[in-house]
């Protein structure tokens, strides 16, 4: 797998069902354009995110992961996004120390009314990820196979 002009990063987005998922929906109904590189999974709250989900996404070959939830103070469950924030900041720093490029872990606060912001976020992280090479973290040179999908 070589990096060429055609490289399109694959991004897995975990969006909270109260804010960011609705924000993504709004981006669609408002006909906002954003790269089709993101695959979205709806989660009940950003506080649902176990770092395991993030690492697992990288393990199966996604180039980047986005976790998006409600703005601080707006969590439907009061404190879920605060907890997510703690977990995310630790995970990001720790994975960076292990050798994962910081660009691969992305987070945003997108409210249900911010369709435009969602489109911007996806555009930005797609271009960020294009700056670095495709995710070969878990590829095994020995037998040349890509990590199991």
């Amino acid at each position: 797998m070589t990096q060429d002009a055609e490289y399109e990063p694959r991004i897995l987005g975990f969006l909270c069902r109260w804010c960011s998922y609705a924000g993504a929906d709004l981006a669609g109904t408002s006909r906002k354009k954003y790269p089709a590189n993101i695959r979205i999974i709806k989660i009940p709250c950003s506080g649902r995110i176990d770092p395991l989900l993030i690492v697992r996404a990288l393990r199966v070959g996604f180039d980047g992961v986005l976790v998006s939830g409600c703005h601080p103070g707006d969590c439907h469950y009061q404190t879920g996004n605060y907890r997510a924030r703690r977990r995310m900041s630790i995970t990001k720093k720790f994975l960076e120390y292990m050798g994962v490029e910081p660009e691969r872990l992305q987070a945003s606060w997108v409210s249900a009314s911010e369709g435009g912001k969602f489109a911007e976020v996806v555009t930005e992280i797609t271009s960020d990820l294009k700056q670095i090479s495709p995710n070969r973290l878990f590829s095994d040179e020995r037998d040349g196979t890509k990590a199991a999908q």
């Binding site: 395991l52 393990r59 601080p72 404190t79 703690r86 977990r87 720093k93 720790f94 120390y97 973290l137």
Partner: protein
């Protein structure tokens, strides 16, 4: 037998006799020279086997969940922090444990002594702390080595070495020479590398991992009844010990114990293939301290790191 040891034995016997505890968890001499092994007993006669020396390297708090009733436990600084951490996580009630604190002068790394003297441990007659030096007796002759040269890497960056939470303190707080910089020299090396080099480093380290789960089993912070690594639907990691899954397992384990891990170094000590796990746990401790000014096991009233938040916290990475 040292004075501390004598005191410990009589106190432990007393605790069992008076029924104040159901079990004593401590150390006894191991089968190899200088080595020690955990002693868990409810028989007061066994207390005569308890030892305290510079080789007591197990973190005994891992056994607290396994013995029923009230346990009297011998605890050094790091063990006491692990116990406090377990209390914070409500894995243990403070009244169910009687902490026999022993001020710790640091644990001597026998491999380092062997390397310094060029002798096998069986050829060495005695090793003991002499102030801030380790006195090694070989065939009547005595050699002294600075503490920094013989301490285990964990102990080099230990703080505080004396237990802060205890019911009874035996012995006096002695000098412990710590050298945080020396203790984190491996981390410094890694930090100077590029991300690719670091990943390659961990990849090669985890290629050796046989997934024996010793790191998890000795870890007082790993108290889940069911570990994600054993789940089958979905299977988060393959049961085969391939480096990819070994690495995922350890990365997630480290993240899951963040804020609970007191960096006692048991995982690295238990690792049969010598993966430098402390370079991960120590780094995690630093990250947690830097971001949240939180140190595991220092305050039993504080909520666990991951169960708390501040409305205003670092979020410069969030768009």
């Amino acid at each position: 037998m040292s004075e501390t040891e004598q005191k410990l034995r009589s106190e432990a016997r007393d605790l069992l006799e008076k029924g104040r505890v159901n079990h004593i968890i401590g150390y006894e001499a191991g089968s190899l020279k200088f080595s020690t092994t955990p002693l868990i007993t409810s028989d007061k006669e066994d207390t005569d086997r308890l030892v305290i020396n510079p080789f007591i390297n197990n973190n005994l708090s891992v056994f607290l969940g396994e013995v029923g009733g009230k346990a009297g436990i011998v605890a050094r600084g790091c063990d006491a922090r692990s116990i406090v951490s377990l209390i914070q996580d409500k894995q243990l009630a403070r009244e169910d444990v009687f902490i026999i604190g022993v001020p710790c002068g640091g644990i001597i790394d026998l491999d380092k002594v062997e390397k310094l003297t060029g002798l096998d441990r069986d050829e060495i007659d005695d090793i003991a702390w002499q102030g801030d030096k380790a006195a090694v007796t070989i065939g009547g002759a005595r050699k002294e080595f600075p503490a920094k040269e013989v301490l285990t890497d964990d102990c080099l960056s230990c703080e505080p070495p004396d237990p802060r939470e205890y019911d009874l303190l035996i012995g006096e707080v002695g000098p412990l020479v710590t050298d945080g910089e020396l203790g984190r020299s491996k981390i410094k090396e890694l930090e100077a590398m590029t991300p690719e080099q670091r990943w390659e480093f961990w990849k090669s380290e985890f290629s050796r991992c046989i997934r024996c789960y010793a790191c998890r089993q000795v870890c007082p912070a790993c108290f889940c009844n069911r570990c994600f690594s054993e789940e089958t639907e979905p299977a988060w990691i393959s049961p085969l010990p391939r480096w990819q899954d070994n690495l995922v397992f350890q990365a997630i384990r480290m993240i899951h114990v963040a804020g609970r891990c007191t960096n006692c170094g048991e995982c690295e000590r238990a690792c049969p293939v010598n993966i430098p796990l402390r370079s991960l746990s120590k780094k995690m401790e630093e990250i947690v301290d830097e971001l949240f000014h939180y140190r595991a096991g220092t305050d039993k009233e504080a909520p666990p790191l991951m169960a708390a938040y501040q409305p205003e916290e670092a979020e410069d990475f969030i768009r």
